[in-house]
Point group: C2
Chain length 101, copies 2
């Protein structure tokens, strides 16, 4: 089983993840992505969904038109793990190819 990151490791990982921060009130990381429109926001979600499914590690996310709010945590581990950091990094890479602002 993948191990929960220590507070120190989580903070270090967040420093390398532009846009992400500690989620409020729970051990998780969060980012809000804002795209140009719904087409772009859902295109982002579709690409992320394929990656999430491939790695069997899924986001909690909320979409309202051009906005996608994401929370990542690893339920089995009771906190943030390397799997969350990997998925966050992949999301940033996909968003960077579109036009987040």
């Amino acid at each position: 089983m993948v191990k929960r990151l220590t507070d120190e490791d989580r903070h270090a990982a967040l420093r390398e993840l532009p846009g992400w921060s500690a989620a409020e009130g729970r051990e998780a990381i969060a980012r809000t992505f804002v795209f140009k429109d719904f087409n772009e926001a859902f295109g982002f979600m579709a690409r992320v969904a394929l990656i999430a499914e491939k790695h069997d590690h899924h986001p909690e996310w909320r979409n309202v038109y051009k906005t996608v709010e994401v929370v990542l945590t690893t339920h089995d581990a009771g906190g943030v793990t390397a799997r969350d950091i990997d998925l966050a990094r992949a999301m940033n890479a996909i968003a960077a190819q579109l036009s987040p602002r």
Copy 2:
């Protein structure tokens, strides 16, 4: 502009929409769909996204693994309109073709 439904019309429409109810604390309608797994949940979202985009009327929704929580309202009209009812009906039809429970 599409007109906001009266309370009476909204209640009447909800009676014809299995699974949907008035959203708490705002003039909107809501339903939580629970699918078999993420594949099915996101498949549902992808089909709904195409319909939403086609009609330029988009849901507020939150996905956590196999669950999709939806809220529909028409911001321009300040409440629930026929566009929300139509989208809710389309969502039920798509979900019925998958395996909601």
